[in-house]
């Protein structure tokens, strides 16, 4: 009898899925155009870091990983259907196994995977805040206040229409997340481009005999998907519009940085705008290890100390935040963040 594998520790092995990759298959577009996949190493690194530091807070837990896989499958399914539609028009049919191939292609792109991971984390945060903190996943106090404004409902550009549009988009985001679905129309533009590139990559990977046909189908499918895609009508765009255009908007509406008033979705958008980070990166500020930084950001943006404390309380009910940290003046907070930013910049240089 051989030793039970359970008795042998996987000594320092990195799980396959998280290993940094050298060449990214999505980095080369089939049409020869350079497809930018920024920082593929960085995305894997960001996934690996909490594991390596022992700071895993469940952001790579089974539920989140399963959610990411579900979203991947859903995006792949929609790509297959788009190709099937194109084949229908062209008179040829799809081969089997295409969905699995798309899943593999999309999963090998760190940016794409990181984007889906951020969406999975946002949903986990949203549903947790609803269950444990009583913060509604859609009808937050800020949104309810905007919906209660009397106005002409027929006009498209009124604040009421925007609030209704946002409520609908966020409502569907919650329904889709429950079902682990992600309509292509809701992808952030950069992820949408990667999904389209996957159409062509998949065609390039086919046997030479099928390739020309597959390329033409991919082009038809891409065109039809692009026609339907409108980045400005997706949930993220509506959130940005609701949060207010312009870099200084958060300072005019510090309530949007009050998690209990704004809800997770608007809070993340406002946080991204305030910090100048991408929305997915802003999510990482909510990790337990970064409470101090988060408080500084909130205070620097002008959020009163009590509300900043309330945000941390909602995110990390077990955490104790020193009163002195909350009591820091916005100016000091901004200065400390500036120093930190300068420090980081110096390191990178």
């Amino acid at each position: 009898m051989t030793a039970d594998p359970r008795g042998v520790e996987p000594f320092g092995l990195v799980p396959n899925g998280n290993a940094p990759r050298g060449a990214d298959p999505c980095a080369v577009d089939a049409n020869g155009a350079a497809l930018s996949v920024p920082d593929a190493h960085g995305a894997s690194g960001a996934l690996l870091r909490p594991l390596a530091l022992g700071q895993a807070d469940g952001s790579l837990g089974d539920g989140v990983v399963a959610h990411v896989r579900g979203l991947l499958e859903d995006v792949a399914r929609q790509l297959v259907e788009a190709l099937a539609g194109a084949a229908h028009a062209g008179g040829t049919c799809m081969e089997g196994g295409a969905q699995a191939a798309f899943v593999a292609l999309l999963a090998s792109n760190g940016t794409f995977l990181g984007g889906l991971h951020a969406l999975a984390l946002e949903w986990r945060l949203t549903s947790r805040l609803e269950e444990r903190q009583g913060i509604d996943s859609v009808l937050t106090p800020l949104l309810l206040a905007a919906l209660a404004v009397e106005g002409e409902g027929s006009e498209d550009d009124t604040p009421l229409a925007l609030a209704r549009g946002l409520a609908g988009a966020q409502f569907r985001f919650c329904l889709d997340s429950r079902r682990m679905r992600l309509p292509l129309g809701e992808l952030p533009p950069d992820l949408f481009r990667i999904a389209l590139a996957a159409l062509h990559l998949h065609a390039s990977g086919l046997p030479a005999a099928d390739r020309d046909d597959a390329h033409s189908r991919a082009i038809i499918a891409e065109r039809s998907l692009r026609l339907r895609f409108d980045a400005e009508r997706g949930r993220l765009a509506l959130l940005r519009r609701f949060a207010g255009e312009g870099a200084g908007a958060a300072h005019q509406h510090p309530d949007q940085l009050d998690l209990t008033q704004a809800g997770a979705a608007l809070f993340l958008t406002a946080l991204a705008r305030t910090t100048g980070l991408a929305r997915a990166q802003a999510l990482s500020l909510l990790a337990p290890a970064r409470i101090g930084e988060l408080v500084l950001v909130l205070r620097a943006a002008g959020l009163p100390a009590a509300q900043a404390g309330g945000c941390v309380q909602a995110l990390h009910p077990d955490a104790l935040v020193p009163g002195a940290l909350l009591a820091i003046t916005p100016q000091d907070a901004a200065q400390m963040l500036g120093q930190q930013a300068a420090h980081v910049a110096g390191e990178q240089a």
Partner: protein, 485 residues
């Protein structure tokens, strides 16, 4: 580990070459004994036994986390097994209580289930006004379009429900769990209103019918905010419309009521009746007159319900393709006396005199005793119910060639010719209502009579009462020994 932490000594034990626990610390011996192990018997803790065997066979020291049960309490140890001569030495470190095996499973969540079953979701603000709508079922396309064009209005108005304006004024609890028809859908829909934590509501549209659930390609999404494209992409046009369901000979629920539902319903209904009777009779204490009367109503309604359940279960039984009563040697006169005995109280309450066959009369027949009694009870209770007070109901029986017959004759209004023809039809009430009948009794009785190779007929003269006659095959060979029963 900080110096303050107490390092507990490991629990030790030793197993021999046959995995018997030969020496053990007291704690291990207790766990071993608690799991049914005996002194110097095979180690009784399965996880530890596996570890010991593995160490012994491989000759290598092994360490792993094992869970053993101390009574109902799981305890988790770091267990180390080191081969020692023929046997294995065990050391258990860091014992701590483990959680129950299912402690981290989420509790059952009916709301979550409804969310998954719902084919349409509507988001409502605290005033139940429509904010957003999302429908998956193709037959809800009209509903979705209607709701999307009525944002900001109460959902009952936006759905175009009858009396929508009245419904819009009601508390949400009164509106929850309604079943309604929706425009454009052939199905009935159950509406659930679930309050959200933020003060609004989720309105869920749950289909009442399963057949032909979701059809693909019928509509491309009517969202009005850029969703249409993505939705259309999800619904391939190549999937054909399902064929219309052929109408089956038997409904899919055939047998369900009699087999599954009726036994489940009888007990709770009986309890309702019993408790209502307790209240009515004031066994549990004094009570205002009005409440006693309410309790009587509850008990009466419960009895009606119970009768209906029994009738429907019987209906299921007699309409089942393979229904056949178990034939037996019976005496119709005996049946008549038993049925009269059961209903004598009710007859006396109405001042009705029951006239029975002579005490020495015997009418041997072939039939199932229980079913014949059921038919007689039905005929007799009808006669008592519909005959005027202080009159006579007569039970006669006799032999007529190869047939045995028993007749129940009342002195009520009787039936006209057309009524007599209709009276055996299913759910036929002859215009009566509110008296607790289901319109199934005579239909079932005739089905039973015919299933026993007999028949149930009625002869009547209007104004002079009706005579229901049950005929069954006579038990001719047994005629001479009828007294043996």
């Amino acid at each position: 580990m900080t110096p303050g932490d107490q390092v507990r000594a490991p629990i030790r034990g030793l197993c021999d070459g046959a995995d018997r626990l030969v020496t053990a610390d007291e704690a291990l011996a207790r766990l071993h004994g608690g799991a049914g192990g005996s002194v110097a018997g095979t180690l009784a803790l399965p996880a530890l036994l596996a570890l010991v065997r593995q160490a012994r066979l491989s000759g290598l020291a092994q360490t792993r986390e094992v869970t053993v049960l101390d009574g109902d309490q799981p305890i988790v140890f770091q267990a180390r097994a080191v081969p020692q001569g023929e046997g294995v030495a065990l050391a258990l470190h860091d014992g701590r209580r483990g959680g129950a095996p299912d402690h981290d499973l989420p509790p059952a969540d009916p709301a979550g289930l409804w969310h998954h079953l719902a084919q349409g979701h509507v988001l409502l603000d605290p005033g139940q006004r429509v904010i957003a709508v999302d429908c998956r079922a193709s037959d809800l396309a009209d509903v979705e379009a209607g709701l999307a064009s009525a944002l900001g209005h109460h959902w009952a108005l936006a759905l175009g429900l009858p009396e929508g304006a009245r419904l819009a004024g009601l508390h949400w609890r009164l509106l929850d769990d309604m079943v309604v028809d929706l425009a454009g859908s052939p199905r009935r829909w159950r509406l659930r209103l679930l309050p959200r934590v933020g003060g609004g509501f989720d309105l869920l549209l749950l289909p009442e019918a399963i057949l032909g659930l979701t059809r693909f390609g019928a509509h491309g999404g009517v969202h009005g905010d850029g969703q249409a494209g993505a939705e259309a992409a999800e619904r391939p046009a190549s999937v054909p419309e399902p064929e219309p369901e052929p109408t089956p000979d038997l409904p899919p629920w055939a047998g369900f009521l009699g087999r599954d539902l009726a036994p489940a319903l009888r007990q709770p209904i009986s309890r309702i009746i019993a408790n209502a009777e307790t209240i009515r009779s004031r066994l549990a204490g004094p009570l205002a007159e009005a409440y006693g009367a309410y309790a009587a109503d509850i008990a009466e309604a419960g009895r009606h319900l119970l009768g209906l359940v029994d009738d429907l279960a019987d209906l299921d039984a007699v309409e089942a393709p393979g229904f056949a009563p178990a034939p037996d040697h019976i005496d119709l006169a005996d049946c008549a006396r038993r049925a009269a005995g059961i209903l004598s109280m009710r007859a006396r309450e109405r001042g009705i005199e029951l006239i029975l066959p002579e005490a020495d009369c015997q009418v041997p027949a072939i039939g199932e005793f229980r079913r014949v009694l059921q038919v007689l009870l039905n005929l007799l209770s009808n006669a008592i119910r519909y005959t005027p007070e202080k009159t006579i109901v007569r039970l006669d029986c006799g032999l007529d060639g190869g047939a045995a017959w028993i007749a129940v004759e009342d002195s009520g209004q009787g039936l006209t010719g057309p009524e007599a023809a209709r009276v055996f039809e299913k759910f036929e009430r002859l215009g009566r209502k509110g008296d607790g009948g289901s319109g199934l009794g005579l239909y079932i009785s005739r089905r039973l009579a015919r299933a026993m190779a007999g028949d149930l007929t009625v002869t009547s003269t209007p104004g002079e009462g009706a005579r229901f006659c049950l005929r069954l095959p006579a038990d001719i060979p047994a005629a001479g020994i009828v007294n043996a029963r």
